[in-house]
């Protein structure tokens, strides 16, 4: 019979890459994303018996990640909005202009608005699923989505072509 660490390690190994990418889109900072994912995995391990019996451990993990991010942003209410922090060797060749433009636009959004966009358009969740994961109503998700997309249009302005040429 598999022990807690074995089961947890199997799950964490399979899911850590996706969690890290989500965390990176949420915060825009490679090191902070690493910290958020480790915090998330730590919380999952602490409550592993509850996690593994959940309907969807993946959804559970994503919820913990998003709420850890929002909690971090609440604590760090400074104007610090890092973006574009990624070691040169962190990934395969991707157009840096696209990456910077995307992160610049996302960095201008309030944390919850940013989380809504990442969950809906990166994780491809429905409005209801996004609302569940963020702990808010579907109406709030729709409102935030509306505001965030409009803000993104305003922020990116002349740099739109970099995004839309992806």
């Amino acid at each position: 019979m598999a022990t807690d660490p074995d089961e947890f390690l199997e799950f964490a190994t399979a899911r850590s890459s996706q969690l890290f990418r989500t965390a990176w889109l949420l915060c825009g900072d490679w090191h902070l994303a690493e910290d958020l994912v480790q915090t998330t995995l730590g919380k999952l391990y602490r409550s592993w018996r509850r996690v593994r019996s959940a309907d969807s451990p993946d959804a559970y993990a994503r919820t913990v990640l998003v709420r850890s991010y929002l909690s971090y942003r609440r604590r760090r209410s400074s104007t610090e909005q890092p973006y574009g922090s990624l070691p040169d060797s962190a990934g395969r060749e991707i157009d840096p202009a696209l990456r910077l433009t995307l992160l610049k636009g996302l960095a201008e959004l309030p944390p919850k608005d940013r989380a809504v966009l990442v969950l809906r358009y990166w994780e491809d969740l429905s409005v209801e699923q996004t609302a569940q994961q963020m702990g808010c109503s579907a109406g709030a998700v729709r409102n935030r989505s509306l505001r965030a997309l409009a803000k993104l249009r305003t922020v990116l302005g002349g740099e739109l072509h970099l995004l839309t040429a992806a």
């Binding site: 964490a12 969807s56 559970y60 913990v64 358009y121 569940q132 040429a165």
Partner: protein
């Protein structure tokens, strides 16, 4: 990227944003040691929790011992004089305390209250969304709600969602500028201190051309009707209906959302929500349910409201409080 993805003015609409996120993020590789680092943190967290449990247990033992000594002294025993009359008043919120079966607002309760308010029609795919409770007493972290697919006339179904939650986000009741667009928005104060915003929009929302000449967007996707109502006590009641049975379907579906704005106003402003949303009746939260997301499928016995689940004017009914999800 296909130019069809672009909004009216070349705006990065949802699909373009989705594509850009995938392009940017798929090149990002997780750092080595991520999992082991998470495991180490988890072990530390477990150790801290064990320490808290031991500390809480010791505190209870000390409190119990203090009470025993006090009783002994009061009975003429030989206990230290300093303990006479001392009350064992230690109140430690032990992490292992059993979860009492406290009543609280449940999605089932919301659904039972909502059903009689709906116009006739076919209802399928009902999903209950149980609220998650914050560690603070009296605070719901997420809404109690329900979503379902509704077809009022056999001419095509649409998605409907309904939720109720304390809210402080007054920005949600501010109308966007829809000047010169197909979207509409109105906001009004109703009797009894109610504030309501009614909005007709598209799934991928409409935006107006700005004063400085930046072109707006005609929006795309399903038609949506939203009623956002704020009760005088700070609770928010939100109802959405759309013209398609699933979101992001890529089609418009029916020519309008399945419920009219007038119907949604009548439903959200019904007195039942004011009797359900009574902050003073919220129970003190005793334990944290799981945080995961999950939608509870409606049990098959969902039917007419019953005596045990129908909302009363004073409490939260008989929610299970398991906080799944």
């Amino acid at each position: 990227m296909n130019s069809d993805h672009l909004g009216t003015a070349g705006a990065p609409d949802a699909e373009a944003l989705s594509d850009a996120m995938r392009t940017a993020a798929t090149g990002v590789q997780a750092p080595a040691g991520l999992v082991q680092g998470g495991l180490a943190r988890g072990r530390r967290m477990r150790a801290v929790r064990r320490m808290q449990i031991v500390g809480a247990s010791l505190a209870v033992v000390v409190a119990a011992a203090g009470g025993t000594l006090a009783l002994t002294a009061a009975d003429g025993g030989s206990g230290p004089a300093a303990t006479v009359g001392r009350q064992p008043t230690v109140t430690v919120a032990s992490p292992t305390a059993p979860v009492p079966n406290v009543p609280r607002l449940s999605a089932q309760q919301v659904w039972e209250a909502l059903k009689p308010l709906l116009p006739p029609g076919s209802i399928t795919n009902v999903q209950l969304h149980e609220p998650v409770w914050d560690d603070n007493p009296h605070k719901m972290q997420s809404a109690a709600g329900v979503s379902f697919v509704f077809d009022p006339d056999g001419k095509g179904a649409g998605e409907v969602s309904f939720s109720i939650k304390p809210t402080s986000d007054l920005a949600a009741y501010e109308c966007p500028d829809y000047t010169g667009t197909v979207a509409t928005c109105s906001r009004a104060d109703l009797a009894g201190g109610l504030l309501i915003e009614l909005r007709k929009d598209r799934e991928y929302p409409v935006s107006a051309t700005t004063d400085d000449g930046k072109a707006g967007s005609e929006g795309r996707g399903a038609w949506t009707h939203a009623a956002n109502l704020r009760l005088a006590n700070g609770f928010g009641v939100t109802m959405y209906s759309t013209s398609t049975p699933t979101d992001k379907s890529g089609t418009t579906g029916r020519p309008a959302a399945v419920l009219t704005l007038e119907q949604q106003q009548a439903i959200t402003s019904a007195p039942v929500w004011q009797s359900l949303a009574v902050p003073g009746s919220l129970p003190t939260r005793q334990a944290t349910p799981a945080q995961g997301a999950g939608n509870g499928a409606v049990p098959e016995n969902v039917g007419a409201p019953t005596a045990t689940t129908a909302p009363s004017g004073t409490g939260w009914g008989s929610g299970t409080g398991t906080g799944k999800g």
